[in-house]
Amino acid sequence: MLNNEIIKQKLTEKFPDQLTDWCEPYGMLTFTAPAPLNLKVLQFLYDDAELRFQFLTDLQAVHYPDSKGAELAVVYHLHNLVDNVRIRFKVFVDIEKPDVYSATALYRSANHMERETFDFYGVNFVGHPNLIRILNVEEMDYFPMRKQYPVEDQSRIDKDDEMFGRG
């Protein structure tokens, strides 16, 4: 039966000393990979006869404004549907150059989720067939989910303060 120890062992054999930050919050195996290796790790997890992580449950980003040089994390949630085992792994990139290889060739569902992640965090998925905004208005010129904006956005001019008792 596939368990976290076996997954971790297989991954460390294949990628010695490259995968870090192993942990198991709520029993879900989690680790960090170097950003240029993301596709290699995904492909290995997908192809290996025992691991078979062939379903991409979710893909999204997190912004850590305080960790310089690694502000943006892209998180992959994978599911082995045969053994019903889930894992999660992260890659970190510099917000100045947020290039991550696109997983669209491996998982077709990544197409939509990478567009969404680009839309809200500005992660540049290299190799994505159509990396444009998907949920926000086309003319938006910033990435709204980055934590660089105050909770009440001072740049907005559409707010009618009279309506909110702040006039």
Binding site: L135, N136, V137, P144, E152, D153, R156, D158, K159, D160, M163, F164
Partner: protein, 162 residues
């Protein structure tokens, strides 16, 4: 009541308003109750809901309008023939409501002119009926030529319409 032509037309108009429900969220559910048998909007001559803007008189905007939805709402309004009226039902349509955020239009009056605002989150069916009666008063009091007035043209020009 019906002593001259203008008053006859007003009377006919106010008692045969065809509403176009533009429902995007919970206010739309309240409107369904308003239109159903218990509150029965049909009592006021608004029996026929229509989803073809060209044949409608009253645009009922019920729910949050995201900025991406703004141009769609505006298009629907432009497709309606004059005379046309607009009700903003609920806090979101009136002011953006609780959605004080980058993606939500802060009141539909930023893209189209509004005649009556119905407050509430969501408003009860009675409130929607009250708003509808206010519209009937407006329709009744409106002269035949109001829509040709400079003031009205100025209002529409303020929204970049026509």
């Amino acid at each position: 009541m019906a002593t001259n032509f203008e008053k006859v037309v007003s009377l006919a108009r106010k008692n045969s308003i065809w509403p176009l429900p533009f429902a995007t969220s919970c206010c739309g559910i309240e409107f369904m109750a308003t239109a159903a048998s218990h509150y029965d909007l049909a009592r006021f001559g608004a029996e026929r809901m229509s989803f073809s803007p060209r044949q409608c008189d009253l645009l009922l905007v019920m729910g949050t309008i995201a900025k991406k939805m703004g141009p769609v709402l505006r298009q629907v309004y432009l497709q309606m023939a004059e005379p046309r009226w607009v009700v903003a039902v609920g806090a979101c349509a009136s002011s953006g409501g609780i959605f004080d955020t980058y993606s939500v239009l802060q009141g539909i009056d930023q893209v189209i002119p509004v005649d009556v605002y119905v407050p509430g989150c969501p408003p009860r069916p009675e409130a929607i009926l009250d708003g509808f009666l206010k519209i009937q008063d407006l329709v009744n009091a409106e002269g035949l030529r109001r829509r040709h007035s400079d003031q009205y043209k100025e209002l529409l020009a303020g929204y970049g319409i026509q």
